[in-house]
């Protein structure tokens, strides 16, 4: 059964307080409360927030290319090193991102080149899924692994959120300025009796009517995030739907040992956990990510997964349910069992 046998994360060493980010990004005063009440202790950013307002669209594009490659490679290396796997053993590389430009060749080719991967590997580059991107990325890896069980697949989710900084002063940028940061999370997917987190099922649902409500658009040649005032009003029913559907023919909700929910915002976590009747402890890894990093879009659930696997809490037979939410408006879930 295809399994996640390792994970690795990478993030910038520079960490800024919410106060520093607020002042650096020259955010309007009315949004200050969103920073101070967020519960995020520090924001990891590749570039000082004080430099971002001076940037051009080209600067942001270049910064994405530079830092996405850097963090993606570091997360892949960290992921492979835990299992003693060489980059030359990788057969497929799935790269997921929504915060930067997609030139040709796509980022996966740069990663493969720099890490010395073979010339016959399969490349997949997924954009446009927003914060939910890890689920389709892992699903592609899962499906490939079922067809080719000898394959070693890397799914690398990388978000350089600072590259989507936009000088517009509106609610979307006010919220975005308060919560996003940079990071990369990679997963190694293998089969052939490897111990790990065996992926049992995936489900994704799309609320097309709200497809423009949570989005990443191009404005004045720069990416600009679009967010509603209260994403939780969309995300909570979607998270519940994903959980209900993925567990319909599987184990009951009470059988899930570990939950990973997209740490997209404090209210997203709080309201979903209330609706799902989950105590905060059941989402400890998601809260850990939120409090120590914030929202890293598609890389966020990977940070929680990495924290869970490193914690050695899982015992054989434990079920894990991971739910990610993002543009579309999409909710995606992965059910897995530790073997």
């Amino acid at each position: 059964m295809p399994s996640i046998t390792s994970t690795g994360i990478a993030y910038p060493t520079a960490v800024y307080s919410q106060d520093e980010v607020y002042h650096g990004l020259k955010t309007r005063r009315i949004y200050l409360d969103l920073f101070t009440s967020s519960g995020i202790t520090g924001r990891h950013l590749c570039v000082s927030p004080f430099d971002l307002p001076k940037t051009t669209a080209q600067d942001m594009h270049d910064s994405y290319r530079q830092w996405a490659l850097e963090l993606a490679k570091r997360s892949v290396i960290a992921c492979l090193a835990k299992k003693g796997v060489s980059p030359r053993d990788v057969d497929m590389l799935v790269y997921v991102s929504c915060t930067g430009s997609f030139e040709s060749p796509a980022m996966s080719f740069e990663i493969a080149h720099d890490l010395g991967m073979r010339e016959d590997i399969i490349h997949r580059n997924l954009a446009g899924h927003g914060c939910e991107g890890a689920i389709p990325g892992l699903r592609d890896a899962w499906e490939h692994s079922r067809l080719y069980p000898l394959s070693k697949i890397i799914c690398c989710t990388t978000e350089i959120s600072h590259a989507a900084y936009h000088p517009d002063v509106d609610v979307s940028t006010g919220i975005g300025n308060a919560i996003f940061c940079d990071g990369a999370a990679s997963y190694l997917i293998e089969d052939m009796g490897q111990s790990g987190l065996s992926m049992l099922d995936f489900k994704e649902f799309h609320n097309y009517k709200e497809r423009h409500t949570v989005a990443m658009v191009m404005k004045d040649a720069r990416f600009k995030i679009v967010l509603p005032h209260r994403t939780s009003e969309l995300s909570t029913p979607m998270a519940c739907r994903v959980v209900e559907e993925i567990l319909k023919d599987g184990p009951g909700k009470e059988s899930i040992s570990q939950w990973i929910l997209h740490s997209g915002g404090k209210s997203i976590l709080q309201e979903a956990s209330e609706a799902l009747c989950l105590p905060k402890e059941n989402l400890e890894h998601s809260y850990w990510v939120w409090e120590n990093f914030g929202n890293m879009s598609s890389a966020t659930v990977g940070f929680a997964m990495n924290h869970l696997l490193d914690s050695k809490q899982l015992r054989p037979g434990d079920y894990v349910l991971m739910v990610a939410l993002g543009a579309g408006f999409t909710g995606g879930g992965m059910l897995a069992i530790f073997t």
Binding site: I30, Y31, D33, L34, T36, V171, H229, R230
Partner: protein
């Protein structure tokens, strides 16, 4: 005719309904905006209230003005000064 504080409080109560959870009964001069129990507003609610008031009165409150606002009385005064 000059806008009175009472008029302003009424308009704040009416415009404030655009903010989620808003309790018009909490709009009293002595009540701090951050008193969630009285106002029903969380941090996003306070953003929504400010945006609603800026739209209602056709003004934009500057950062220094917002820094000085603690209570609804302060808010009404800031709006009054902005309206001239």
């Amino acid at each position: 005719m000059a806008t009175t504080t009472i008029d302003l409080m009424d308009r704040i109560r009416k415009a404030g309904v655009k903010a989620k959870g808003f309790k018009p009964s909490g709009v009293r001069p002595e009540v701090p905006l951050k008193n969630k129990e009285a106002t029903g507003l969380d941090s996003m609610g306070r953003v929504e209230l400010t945006l609603a008031l800026e739209e209602e009165f056709g003004i934009q409150l500057g950062d220094e003005e917002l820094d000085a606002i603690v209570t609804f009385g302060d808010l009404a005064l800031a709006i009054k000064q902005k309206l001239g």
